[in-house]
């Protein structure tokens, strides 16, 4: 035991204490301790792995019809059964996961980029620009998402791009408002004045100094919006406003199954369960991330 006090180990202990401690272990430990969050992570991992390795995991084609096999119950040949056109539901669910994740990632990234930039400009720019942007944000937010979707699809037709556009238009204003508010409270901070007195220009202040100060809570919020985006995509596809058939999307699978629910309940289950798994998984994971990184943001935000 006394050996621990020998000079060599004492030195290394001092050196270790003097180093700034890296944060990684801290947050990781906190995240691991959140059981619901870990459960969410497992669900998300299932969905992601299924979507990424869809071609390896099944040998069926998601859109080739095989009328003889229609309405098969789950079994060894068809893990989740088949739909009204004899397509393997398991394959369609995995490929539907690709659509769901693509929309979730692309739309969230796009609404983040748009919302955060407009929010920075609104918060830091002149008053009239702030007023104009806030008016725009509020106008967009006042539309119910489904109404916005109906209007847009009427204009540009159902497509993957239309789904993404609806999500961006309904999501970006929320990010914009939050970023704007935070920028307004920060732009009078002395460190911003100090930067300006050092000759920093507007772009440098916005992107090097203000953005890192406001982005944390926004990223957490965005991660919690992913399940919402997944349900918007599924909902629009179910209503025929989203990805047009025969492309497999969870909403399409649900819609096809819904029409033939008297023949077989398996297509409805195959379409519904992935939506539940994905939204629950992302919600649990998002909440765990939020609790880990920013305990100040409340659930109701």
């Amino acid at each position: 035991m006394t050996r621990a006090f020998e000079p060599a180990s004492a030195n290394s202990a001092v050196a270790h204490a003097g180093r700034p401690r890296r944060r990684r272990p801290d947050w990781l430990r906190h995240l691991m301790a959140d059981r619901l969050g870990m459960f969410g992570l497992v669900l998300v991992a299932l969905v992601v792995i299924g979507a990424v390795f869809a071609d390896v995991l099944t040998s069926y084609d998601p859109i080739r019809m095989s009328p003889r096999d229609r309405f098969a119950a789950p079994g060894l040949d068809h893990l989740m059964g088949t739909d009204n056109l004899g397509r393997d539901l398991f394959t369609r669910v995995l490929h539907g996961g690709r659509i769901a994740l693509t929309v979730a990632m692309a739309a969230t990234a796009a609404s983040l980029a748009l919302g955060v930039s407009l929010g920075l400009v609104a918060g830091y720019g002149p008053r009239w620009l702030d007023n104009a942007l806030i008016l725009l944000f509020d106008a967009l937010r006042s539309f119910p998402t489904v109404m916005l979707a109906l209007a847009l699809v009427t204009l540009i037709g159902p497509s993957l791009a239309a789904v993404i556009l609806v999500v961006v238009l309904s999501g970006a204003p929320s990010y914009g408002r939050i970023v704007r508010t935070q920028v307004i409270s920060l732009k009078r901070a002395e460190f911003v004045l100090a930067e300006r007195s050092m000759g920093a220009g507007t772009a440098r202040i916005l992107f090097v100094h203000l953005l890192p100060n406001v982005i944390g809570p926004i990223l957490i919020l965005a991660s919690m919006d992913i399940p919402v985006v997944i349900t918007i995509e599924a909902g629009m596809s179910f209503l025929g406003l989203g990805v047009p058939p025969p492309t497999p999307s969870w909403g399409n699978i649900l819609n096809d199954g819904f029409s033939f629910i008297r023949e077989s309940i398996w297509p409805v289950i195959a379409g519904g369960v992935p939506i539940i798994v994905a939204t629950l998984g992302f919600t649990f994971l998002g909440e765990a991330l939020r609790d880990t990184f920013d305990p100040r943001i409340r659930k109701d935000m």
């Binding site: 700034p20 100090a194 050092m198 000759g199």
Partner: protein, 328 residues
């Protein structure tokens, strides 16, 4: 190097547009900062010290406007200079140390990241910029600077943070450093350390310093020249010796009386200057200090006093001040 003072402010007037009308925050302010010299600006809160600083830096708020006068920096008038040229001067030839080191550093970047970032005008590798940052931290007597570069602002004490701010302000070896009450937020024991540090660095770099404070003792300790401001005017300026030993303006005298360090007898109630700083939207007609002045005469309330030279380099804005009788 060109001769002449590094900064010469001549008849500067600044106004703010307010709901009640124009607020005349600075009126006919003149002062001179010699090359490599240290000038103290002293005055109560709201006397226009910060407005003066912002006017020099060209960082006026949107409702502020320079109504007249000149700010000659190294012979060039900064008033009306375009924003881009002004921006190039800031952080290169002019820089600032702010009052509160707790908020003057960005909380989300490490010290090293910020110190590397402010060198964006220089070319050179990141490693070279980091080395420069570490060298600058060593100059402000920060022990083990390389390792501190990876820490965040909140991991430092107030005194350490102010050292970091000073290091950042001096990074570009400016010609003029403005210190806006740099020790107000610090403990009294740290103030002395910070003064020594500033004085040593000023000698080493050879920059001129404007030291804004409401602490007369600090200014006497540090500066050669003093500018006394009251309600947007320079009421008296001169050498430290003149101001402290032969104050010509009643306001300066009252200010000296209120300095606890100069009170010799035991006093039940510490001396104060009765009354408040006047409203700068509706100015009193005569001398700005007349409502609070203990020696004001009838004409003081009606006539605006001119800037009188009571001695060589010693000016006071008082009707009762006479050339050669500074000790009145």
């Amino acid at each position: 190097m060109a001769s002449g003072p590094i900064l010469e402010i001549d008849g500067l007037s600044v106004g703010y547009a307010t709901m009640r009308g124009p607020m005349r925050a600075l009126r006919d302010v003149s002062m001179t900062v010699p090359r490599g010299g240290m000038v103290g600006i002293v005055g109560e809160s709201g006397c226009g010290k910060s407005t003066l600083m912002n006017a020099i830096l060209g960082l006026m708020p949107a409702n502020g406007r320079i109504a007249g006068g000149r700010i000659l920096f190294d012979g060039r008038d900064l008033v009306g200079l375009d924003a881009a040229t002004m921006r190039r001067l800031r952080g290169d030839r002019l820089s600032v140390v702010f009052q509160d080191p707790m908020t003057a550093l960005n909380p989300v970047h490490t010290i090293g990241a910020q110190m590397v970032d402010i060198q964006y005008r220089l070319t050179g590798s990141r490693a070279a910029k980091r080395a420069r940052a570490a060298a600058m931290l060593a100059k402000v007597r920060m022990p083990d600077p390389r390792h501190h570069l990876d820490q965040y602002a909140h991991e430092f004490s107030g005194g350490m943070r102010q050292r970091i701010c000073i290091a950042m302000a001096l990074m570009a070896e400016p010609d003029l450093l403005i210190c806006d009450e740099p020790t107000t937020a610090l403990d009294a024991t740290l103030e002395v350390q910070m003064l020594d540090l500033l004085r040593d660095l000023q000698r080493e770099i050879g920059c001129a310093v404007i030291f804004i404070s409401h602490h007369l003792g600090l200014i006497a300790e540090l500066c050669a020249q003093v500018v006394v401001m009251y309600a947007g005017q320079v009421v008296e300026r001169g050498s430290v010796r003149d101001i402290f030993h032969r104050p010509a303006h009643p306001y300066t005298r009252r200010l000296l009386d209120c300095d606890p360090a100069r009170i010799r007898e035991r006093a039940e109630v510490l001396p104060t200057i009765p009354g408040d700083v006047p409203d700068l939207v509706e100015l009193p007609p005569g001398c700005i200090f007349s409502p609070r002045c203990p020696v004001a005469e009838g004409r003081c309330h009606t006539t605006v006093p001119p800037d009188v030279a009571v001695a060589d380099g010693h000016h006071a804005r008082c009707l009762l001040a006479r050339p050669g009788e500074g000790a009145a």
